[in-house]
């Protein structure tokens, strides 16, 4: 069985690996733990004294439990729908003879690149109850005053969030399906087991950790999501916890009481997240498998036969509705002279785009976002790899605490990470980063550490201990076995972590919306603020540039990876 790797390392001199380890833990504590503790501290104390009465008062308010209920409804709906779509599409792409597979695989990840709040703006334009272009068309054609679909609704919020969050499951599950040892399925097949039973008894148990990991990401993300409910919900007085915090803070003019209210609300979310994490542990405990066994073979493909092309068509329709339609809408609205005009050539202009290009505010926002996301992705990827290694491979006591700390900020609304970061980094401990880019940088690291740890842990869990043990028994040092065996194997996981952070950070809104100063706007903040200020056409023009940057960045990065690895990386 596996040995106590940590015990052996500590007996020797303090080497490079140990220094990196100590540093990562320090990073986790300072960047992640302290802000969260500051939130809890501020939620439960007034002037340094414990104060439970206020906390109870805040929780008793009807606003609060309505918001909590709404958050839960959204999270449940989005997780259910998103997991279903993610598993379905990943199975279609990985295990059937669907045509144009590599293209489809790429296309299904595209929604993940699109910022969900930009999607929400597009859907607002298309499906707002009376003014939405689609609804208007529908009402004209059928001569009715009932809209086709009212996007300002719980269903609207759930559908829009699902569109852009399902890739969490899709990516996790298709990776697992591809790496899975197909001999298991094949031997069952040869023994005459029907396909349904194979899927139930072999395939699903093997990919279950990936499904749960993806679903958990969706659940945590939608529970604490700000952008879509802020754009589609506030209009009808529908608040979830993050948007309620945002509202509370603004209506009280930013006084300290409202920050405290925010921290109390966040504490509720932290508790819910801890519960979700605990449930996930229970589910995964019942079956943990190493699915990389050192060899790799092409898995058997399920034949779709006659339904092949109808299913392909369905996939294309899905992509059209979730990606092409909203993107085109954003671009067209960005080209309108003023909002509300019909899409006719005489109403179109390039003026908005020119304006955005020359406007100092938007230029600054774009460069801020680029710098922040690259920096945060790199730092977080490295720290996350090492922390994951401790969690997955080392047998140290209390590592659940480490894992909990790493995943914690993901379950806290970005709004409240922002509050925690403000409380921590605005001079109280001698460092004042307020109104600088650095405070957003620190918040991003805290916010995205969970992505990195999840992605790296999943990769590490699939590297069987036997591989490392083999190296060690041949005389390799701890560092050598890690460098030559583990790191190459988890490199895809690390690269995945880098992008899992880079892309969301590029369009981040929830956290930066509370941290930005007049000179430190991010792209997300700039678009959201323009939309909120009723500059819809300018918001869409800027969103067009943002989409171009994101797509361009994606293409360049993929080129770099496939060129360096000397082969097609599967898109």
């Amino acid at each position: 069985m596996s040995r106590l790797i940590a015990a052996r390392g500590s007996g020797k001199k303090f080497g490079g690996a140990e220094i990196v380890l100590a540093l990562s833990i320090a990073v986790l504590v300072v960047i992640v733990a302290v802000p969260v503790l500051m939130i809890l501290y501020n939620a439960f104390t007034v002037d340094g004294k414990l104060n439970i009465g206020d906390v109870v008062d805040i929780i008793k308010e009807p606003d609060t439990y309505m918001a909590l209920r709404n958050s839960l409804i959204i999270a449940l709906g989005v997780t259910g729908l998103g997991t279903f779509l993610g598993v379905l599409f990943s199975y279609l792409v990985a295990r059937t003879d669907l045509p144009f597979k590599s293209l489809m695989k790429l296309l299904f990840i595209v929604p993940f690149m699109l910022p969900s709040f930009i999607g929400a703006i597009a859907w607002k334009v298309l499906l707002s109850p009376r003014g939405g272009y689609i609804n208007k068309m529908f009402m004209d054609i059928f001569n009715t005053s009932r809209p086709l679909f009212n996007i300002y609704s719980v269903a609207g919020i759930i559908v829009v969030e699902t569109m852009y969050l399902f890739p969490f499951v899709f990516m996790q599950v298709s990776a697992a399906l591809e790496r899975m040892d197909p001999t298991l399925e094949e031997s069952a097949r040869i023994s005459g087991v029907p396909l349904g039973t194979i899927m139930r008894k072999i395939t699903f148990p093997l990919i279950m950790p990936s499904i749960v990991a993806g679903a958990l990401l969706i659940a945590l993300y939608s529970l604490a999501h700000f952008g879509v409910p802020a754009i589609l919900g506030t209009e009808i007085g529908f608040y979830n916890i993050p948007t309620l915090i945002y509202r509370k803070i603004h209506s009280s003019g930013g006084s300290f009481a409202s920050i405290r209210t925010g921290t109390v609300l966040a504490t509720i979310l932290i508790a819910s997240a801890a519960l979700i994490l605990y449930l996930q542990k229970l589910v995964l405990k019942s079956g943990r498998y190493s699915i990389i066994a050192g060899k790799s073979m092409r898995p058997m493909l399920m034949k779709l036969r006659r339904s092949k092309y109808p299913i392909l068509l369905l996939c294309f329709v899905y992509i059209f509705i979730t990606v092409i339609l909203p993107t085109a809408t954003i671009m067209l609205v960005g080209a309108l002279k003023t909002y509300g005009l019909p899409f006719e050539l005489k109403n179109m202009t390039l003026r908005n785009f020119k304006y955005i290009l020359n406007w100092r505010m938007t230029r600054q926002a774009v460069s801020n976002s680029l710098l922040l996301s690259l920096g945060a992705a790199f730092v977080t990827m490295l720290a996350g790899t090492i922390i994951s290694y401790v969690i997955v491979k080392m047998k140290v006591k209390g590592k659940f605490l480490l894992e909990f700390l790493g995943v914690l900020p993901f379950s806290v609304p970005g709004t409240v990470i922002a509050l925690g970061v403000i409380l921590t980094w605005s001079g109280r401990f001698g460092i004042n980063l307020y109104n600088t880019t650095w405070i957003i940088f620190v918040a991003y690291i805290a916010r995205y550490m969970a992505f990195s740890i999840k992605s790296n842990s999943a990769a590490l869990e699939q590297v069987h201990d036997s591989l490392e043990e083999a190296a060690r028994s041949c005389g390799a040092t701890h560092w050598q076995s890690m460098k030559d065996i583990v790191l190459p194997l988890i490199k895809p996981g690390m690269v995945a972590a880098f992008f899992l952070i880079l892309l969301p950070a590029l369009r981040e809104l929830t956290t930066s919306v509370l941290l930005y100063g007049p000179r430190t706007r991010t792209i997300g903040v700039a678009i959201y603020a323009l939309n909120e200020d009723g500059e819809t056409v300018l918001a869409c023009a800027l969103a067009t540039f943002a989409l171009l940057i994101i797509v361009f960045g994606e293409i360049v990065i993929r080129r770099i990876i496939s060129a360096k690895e000397g082969g097609p990386s599967g898109g």
Binding site: V125, S128, P129, R130, G131, G132, K136, T234, E235, I236, G237, I249, H250, S251, S252, G253, G254, S255, F256, S258, I259, K337, T338, Y339, G340, L341, N347, S367, N368, L370, L371, L374, G375, F378, V379, I422, S426, G427, N432, Y434, N435, T437, W438, F441, V495, F498, G517, P518, R519, T520, A529, N531, E532, D533, G534, E535, T536, I560, I561, K564
Partner: protein, 329 residues
């Protein structure tokens, strides 16, 4: 790949530190709730006159600005030098809290305004008005009185911006409540009226036809009409007239630049730019733009709803809460 990423990251780090440290001599940061169309031209003209000042501005709803300033103060990192919004109660409050730096501009004597502060803690720099912005495809009979808004023509289609976000909306709600009573708000809600988002967004929602009409700020609506939006703009019998004060924050490191800016805003040149952006100037010697539906400051003054700003200062949060709870029920 690693090298490419490392290079990118190094570049990012470098950029971050440069972004964090840039700091030339005479700086000025203006926080304002005025939209781009109004503020940017003023800034350009000011820069032409005072090239030695590096002026920057941050435009957002008044609620957001106050939240930002409060947080900056708590973080002991005040960036804002000058505040210019329409949320008049905030200025009284800040004066009472000793958060403002008094400055009586030499231009102040030319000002005509319902609100004035003799010690110069704040000075009105624009006379904002709100009328009804309506979608011309949906509303055939523009409203003339407040009672008209309760008619079936506006059922489920009239909105007021969120007073927590918008200063003009906050003061408007205060005026409506003081002059027409909470019953009027109840009746509006009874006719399906909504609470929108910011003062700009309600106008955009009206332009696309999601709303039939809304309370709209003069220059925001008229600018969109000029761009060709399907909007109309009209004043009701009792008008909403809200001065937008400008104030210098106590503790600013850029007092001289701040005074230059206040002087410029109140000067004839500054006020002409403001007036030409389709809102009302604060000086009698600056003409308004004709033919776009604006009325003269004198007439606006006559038709204006009265408001006790000092009282609204203490009632502000309760008013916002009550309005929000009526409109979202």
């Amino acid at each position: 790949m690693k090298r490419a990423i490392t290079l990118l990251v190094l570049a990012a780090m470098l950029g971050l530190s440069v972004a964090a440290t840039a700091a030339p001599k005479m700086q000025l940061m203006v926080y304002t709730s005025m939209k781009e169309v109004l503020i940017s031209e003023l800034i350009d003209a000011f820069l032409k006159k005072n090239p030695s000042v590096r002026i920057d501005y941050y435009s957002a709803g008044a609620g957001k600005l106050m939240a930002k300033i409060a947080t900056e103060k708590q973080a002991n990192a005040l960036v804002c030098d000058v505040l210019w919004t329409s949320e008049v109660p905030d200025f009284y409050q800040m004066k009472a809290q000793g958060a403002l730096e008094p400055y009586v501009s030499p231009e102040a004597k030319n000002i005509v305004s319902p609100v004035k502060d003799k010690e110069g803690y704040f000075t009105p720099a624009r006379l904002g008005t709100l009328g009804v912005a309506y979608n011309t495809n949906k509303v055939k009979n523009p409203p003339k009185t407040w009672e008209d808004l309760l008619k079936p023509e506006f059922k489920d289609g009239f909105a007021i911006a969120n007073p927590a976000l918008s200063g003009t909306s906050m003061v408007s709600v205060g005026m409506i409540v003081e002059n027409l009573g909470w019953e009027y708000i109840q009746k509006l809600r009874g006719n399906g009226a909504l609470m929108g988002q910011g003062s700009g967004q309600v106008v955009d929602d009206t332009a696309i036809g999601d709303l039939k009409a809304c309370l709209g700020v003069d220059y925001i609506v008229i600018n969109k009409i000029k761009e060709g939006a399907s909007l109309g703009f009209t004043y009701l019998d009792k008008m909403l007239v809200i001065p937008s004060p400008v104030a210098i924050l106590k503790g600013t490191k850029n007092l001289e630049a701040a005074k230059l800016w206040v002087d410029f805003m109140l000067s004839k040149e500054g006020q002409s730019i403001i007036a030409n952006s389709f809102t009302l100037p604060i000086r009698a010697d600056v003409p308004i733009v004709q033919g776009v539906g604006l009325v003269t400051p004198a007439e606006a003054e006559k038709r204006a709803m009265k408001l006790d700003y000092i009282k609204l200062m203490s009632d502000k949060e309760a008013t916002i809460e009550k309005f929000t709870s009526i409109m979202t029920k």
